[in-house]
């Protein structure tokens, strides 16, 4: 009559889990289900909204949201910033799930289990995915604690960025031969050998920023190891609703309506009335707009301008869409110009629809979110070549990208015109709204400059540790 043991029904306890191939597989897939939070949300929001590309402006009474978007734009965030906290917590949560699998699987006898992929591949993917998330942490916070066990150690101390990079390199070296390769049945949506090379290439490209030591040639070497991918003919193809089989995409988050959900960038960007324009099954939020200077950085002949909605907006029958707030019942005309970050109207600002929005779309997009694509790898190599004073070798790569965008060679660069500034600008155009902009601006030393409504800032290249992390870990402080 004094037994107080708990009995669970709707869940199971960790003690009894891992008893079948299905349970082991289910836990191995868990960290992947957090990718959209760490990558297409947290990292993307902090990276794009603090850059010269995107902004979540205040439109009339909408869009203030506690000031967090303005703080990102003006670089006036504090350790209490909600999205920065999200970038920390969510990334470490994904790492925690990788650790959970790697820790618990040690004591599980899988020899009699008919696993869908080998246990070595599972462990390799978990360690590589964990390394990827440490790369995101280094990019956002630089010196961060590295933990490989759930719950241990208490109050971990931050490691110097160079040591975290070393950890990433060691981990990838240890597992790369067990990772799946393009063409394997298990490769889609998983961390492949090519993704591992891309991860190292990203690390080396930014090595000077992260550690003080430039490693341009290492970057080139890693890009050269990425096999089986191409720059496809149509720049729109990697972002189509059905982009599963696009040969340009190296690492994607597979999204599938009503199955794998959580991708709704179009809801951030589209106007409320675009619900009627695209017969959407929800009302978008009219949040994120294109900064005027970013829009104007495109040449009028650049077909990549087609990724923006601008001007009068219509429904599928050609009737004008109407405003609902400051432009209530007036025809909706999206302007390139925006009054200011803090004071604009519902119809100010172009909108990015790089990811194809299908008419009649449900709340969730079907398009796979592209974390890395081969054109990025090529442009990274080109940049490394430029930095190694081999611009001539870089030119064909960059001009391939230009020709794809313009449909002709009229806008190609030559050695004189391909300056570093121009290189940064071209990366901005090619990778508009893809979540790389903050990293690029930092690497080119431009993150502190003034743009649009933002004044010059200094020392904001690294986000502060969130207050919640420093509150509860005496070994962490800003």
């Amino acid at each position: 009559c004094t037994n107080l043991d708990e009995k669970v029904y709707s869940e199971t306890t960790t003690k009894t889990f891992y008893s079948s191939a299905e349970e082991v597989t289910a836990n191995y897939l868990k960290p992947y289900t957090r990718l959209y939070v760490t990558s297409s949300l947290a990292h993307w929001i902090c990276g794009e909204l603090s850059s010269d590309c995107a902004a979540w402006t205040q439109k009339g009474k909408h869009g203030y949201d506690g000031g967090k978007w303005q703080q990102l734009h003006y670089h006036t965030w504090t350790p209490e910033h909600h999205e920065i906290k999200g970038a920390w917590n969510n990334t470490y949560q994904a790492i925690g799930y990788c650790n959970e699998f790697l820790n618990n699987i040690e004591s599980v006898d899988v020899s009699n289990m008919n696993l869908p992929v080998s246990i070595e591949q599972m462990k390799a993917e978990m360690r590589a995915l964990r390394a990827y998330h440490y790369y995101l942490l280094v990019d956002n916070f630089r010196d961060v604690p590295v933990v490989t066990k759930v719950g241990e150690p208490r109050s971990p101390e931050p490691l110097a960025a160079a040591d975290v990079i070393q950890f990433i390199e060691d981990e990838i070296a240890a597992v790369i031969n067990d990772l799946p390769v393009k063409g394997d049945a298990s490769a889609y949506g998983h961390f492949t050998k090519a993704a591992a090379h891309m991860l190292l290439a990203k690390v080396y490209l930014n090595s000077e920023v992260y550690t003080g030591t430039a490693r341009w040639q290492d970057c080139i070497n890693e890009v050269d190891k990425i096999q089986g991918y191409t720059m496809v003919a149509d720049w729109k193809e990697p972002f189509k609703a059905r982009n599963e089989n696009c040969d340009e995409n190296i690492f994607v988050i597979p999204f599938e309506e009503s199955k794998i959900t959580g991708f709704y960038h179009h809801a951030f960007m589209m106007h409320y009335s675009h619900q009627h324009g695209f017969n959407l099954q929800y009302m978008p939020w009219n949040g994120i707009v294109v900064q005027p200077d970013h829009y104007r950085s495109f040449d009028a002949a650049d077909t990549r301008l087609e990724q923006f909605l601008v001007g009068p907006q219509f429904d599928q029958d050609g009737n004008p869409l109407l405003g609902v707030e400051e432009a209530k019942d007036e025809p909706l005309v999206l302007t390139v110009d925006i009054t200011s970050m803090t004071n604009s109207r519902e119809d100010e600002g172009a909108r990015s629809v790089k990811y194809e929005v299908v008419v009649g779309e449900a709340w969730e997009l079907n398009n796979d979110y592209v974390i890395w694509r081969y054109t990025d790898a090529l442009m990274m190599k080109a940049e490394a070549l430029v930095r190694l004073s081999k611009a001539a070798d870089a030119l064909p790569i960059v001009n391939d990208v230009r020709e794809r965008a313009f449909g002709n060679a009229d806008h190609n660069y030559n050695e004189a015109t391909l300056t570093l500034d121009e290189f940064l600008a071209e990366r901005g155009r090619e990778f508009s709204f893809e979540g790389h902009r903050r990293q690029d601006l930092v690497r080119f030393g431009k993150f502190g400059e003034a743009w649009w409504d933002k004044k010059p800032t200094a020392g904001k290249e690294v986000f502060p540790y969130p207050l919640t992390a420093t509150d509860n870990n005496p070994n962490l402080s800003n």
Binding site: L4, Y9, T14, G67, Y188, Q275, M283, W285, V324
Partner: protein
Amino acid sequence: QSQKVNVKLNNASLKEALEVLKTQSDLNFIYNNDLVNDNSQVTINATNKEISEVLQILLNQKGLDYRIVDNNVIIYPVSASANQGQDNTGQMAQQQLVVSGLVTDDTGEPLPGVNVFEKANSANGVITGVDGTYKIEVGSEDAVLTFSFIGFQAQDVNVAGRPSIDITLVEESIGLQEVVAVGYGIQKKTEVTSSIAKVTADNFNKGFATNALQSIEGKVAGLQIVRTAGTDPNASPRVRLRGTSSLNATSDPLIIIDGITGGDISSVAPEDIESMDVLRDGSAAAIYGTRGTNGVIIITTKKGATGDLKVEYSGYVSTEDAVALPNVLSADEYRAYGDATGINYVDGGANTNWSEEIIRKNVSHVHNVSFSGGNQKLSYRASVNYRNLEGIVINTGQEYLNGRINLTHKGYDDRLKVQLNMSSTIIDKDYTSYSAFDMAAILNPTQPVKNSDGTYWQPSGYGEFNPVASLEQERRGGKEKNSQMSLRADFEVFDNFTLSGFGAIDVRDLLEHEYDEIGSRSSETGGYLGRAKQKTWHNYKKMFEGTANYKKVINSHVLTLLGGYSYEGRSYEEFWAENKDFISDAQKYHDLSAGSGLADGRAAMDSYKQTEKLIAFFGRFTYSYESKYLFSATVRREGSSKFGENNKWATFPAVSAGWRIVEEDFLSDTDWLNELKLRVGYGVTGNIVGSPYLSIPRMGAGGLYVLNGQYIKSYGSTTNPNPYLKWETKKETNIGVDYGFFNNRLSGSVDVYQRKTSDLLWNLVAQVPPMIHNEVLSNIGEINNQGVELALNTKILNNGVWNVGLDATFSYNKNKLVSLSDDTFQFQAVNYEDLPAPGQLGTIFRYEEGHPIGSFYGYKYKGLTENGEWIFEDFDGEEGITDADRTFLGNGNPKINLSFSPYVNVKGVDFSMNFRGAFGFDILNVNKMYYGNPLWYPGNMLRSASSSPVNADPQYSDYYLEKGDFLKLDNITLGYTLPKKWLFGLDYTRVYFSALNVATFTNYSGLDPELELGARAGVDQRGFYPRTTTYTLGLNVKF
């Protein structure tokens, strides 16, 4: 009576003998002083004799007899005696008016032994006989007769020439006989040593109530009962005792209904309640251990009495008037404002008052019929309660049907007593929509409710909808069924030693439904063609308690011991399913399979189950000496399955002591003092974890992910487990005084308390890394509450014709979050509770050490620029207004609560009023913040907005904070009890009229200053239920 006593007295006074019997039994003695206070003496030598036998021996010596009603021994002379005073035949010779009559108590029972004397000549007196009758000769036709009897209010009656006068005496509200529920037992009020407030049915608020707790609103000092949702028939009031003592755990008191803990207040009809005892301080509540911190409300339902079958009916009819609706522009004013300012607006051509469109003239009616009766062995009470509460908002209401049977049977020489209680309730609920009134305030008043084609007009703004269409086309409701059954057996194994067993089942089920019609706004914005959902939950609880009681009397020393074991097991299961895309609205939610959404992967379902156990051992020891020096100690050792394995069990001790100063010899001559008792108590109570399983590592299903072309369910840990999880601990010290002066015309209590809650349950920020999840429910920090409570009952006039008095309560509470830190966690501050869209203007509150719970935190308003733009105080010195410029602005929890209820009863007419007030708090006027701003236009806005100096989008600052102080005339009741001669055999008939929420005196400019308490206190939200004045016509009949 089967109680046995030991009495050895030689030549003692009868009064002394009765005192000894009183300390050895739970009986009260009611007698006329003159009968007992003579100089003759009694002798008795009784060992282990039944008290009835002893009484017989004692009283026979004095020519007296007795009768026992409940626990009261009424002593009276064997025969009605006239002229027991001095000889007054001389005066009689002059005036020969003989008055006779019957004296009864308020239940109609004859009262023997009542002293009846002439006021001007107290020597001329008689005592009523065994049948309650008297006969007295008085000096003049204008003589005044006084009827007095211990335990009852004395009455003076002018004879006015009448030869026959029947009198009903009313019991003293603080009578000697009053007993109080103390948890696993009862105690005489005079012997209680902790802070317990009792409210009996006589003192309940009368008239319309959506909930039984409304019956004691304003009746108990320190207990705040707030109608945060007005008269919404499906809403429960917020109940808070002695401030906010928790952050993440519940702040609701433990409600015990006829022994069933955690009872649902909706399972008992107000009309069936006999009394509510509120255990306020730690020393009183500690015997309820992990659930005692927020106080305990013990509800006792009415039981059958011995006697003939009695039938009682009470019922009323009510209707409401909405008295507080947002004062927005009318259609014409809306057009005029647009024309005058040149701001574009759409003129829909109609004149719509949106608020009026969603309210209606409602009629609610409530009926309660009860039957009771029995004999010495078996008594019962059975009742049926029907309530049809029609909300003032269209399609909102509740139909309620409750049946209850209470049965008591005694046997085996009255050594065994069995009590059976059964209650069953069905409730059919139509929920309302609070956001409908927000929409009603802001929609364009020139737009019609319906378009010319008969469809509902719908606005185009983000999140906006037509509230009439919503209430008609997006219906929400539920059917609740709950039943309770309990069986209690008390067996007196040997004298003064009783074993008791109590078992109970409490089952509650709810079946809820939602249906959005095909043409509804939800269907349009959600992208579906109709959506249906059903949800059900099943809550099952079983209880067992075993207790043993022992009592030992050694001369004037009385000791009692209680020991017990308690087991409670609860299981909760939930299931819901939905479907979308219907062809027709005809079947609504009654045929989920009719939709095609499931096949298209657009429907969802879920189920859930949890169980929990609570096991306790408890004991109480009391000691009293001469009923003058009182001591009590309790302890509860309790374990919960919800606690971590390292902290499964907790101990909750309490001690309290009382000193009845009034019994001291040095006060024996002070007739004006009826009660003076000092109480000091200290007790430790707990507050339990809300959800089970938080201490153990769990794996749960997550989203799908792709592998080898298949979509596979993922699994991962769901929380950071905390094996050290335990209860919140509250340590409370209470010092109190009970007082009664001038024949208890002035009585009440004063309590001062200090309560420290430590090991607060708090979703602590977890160390990420190395933990996986952001938070871990932990025990950390401390909150202090301290305060004063006063209760005052006065009887200003009580002369048999006029009965005038005033009851009042006052409480003051001060709250502070002392700490939220420990060795590794250094708490800075947490901002919480986002302001609503549009704009999401940041968080409203902040937790910070050293500040009270519910502190508003934002910009400090400094002024406006010439253009009407905001100027805030710039505290941080950095350019511009930043997060660091925010500061503490105020607090939404009232520091002071008071209530007072004057009443007048005269010649069958009763009139009472109930005032309630709260002071010392601030309100954030969210409505003014959003649509009190001229930039809100062309959304409709408050009339005051058109003259507002503000010309900028709203920002959260103390510009929108207002003083919330208010005094409410909450209830007026006027009743008339018909004279018996009109009743054609009915025992009692009273008709009354009452009005609820009659007037609010406040400087607050918003709708109603009576708002949420606690961590989110004082926010006048955009979504609300309209406050109303309720008018009620009622009838009570007994026969």
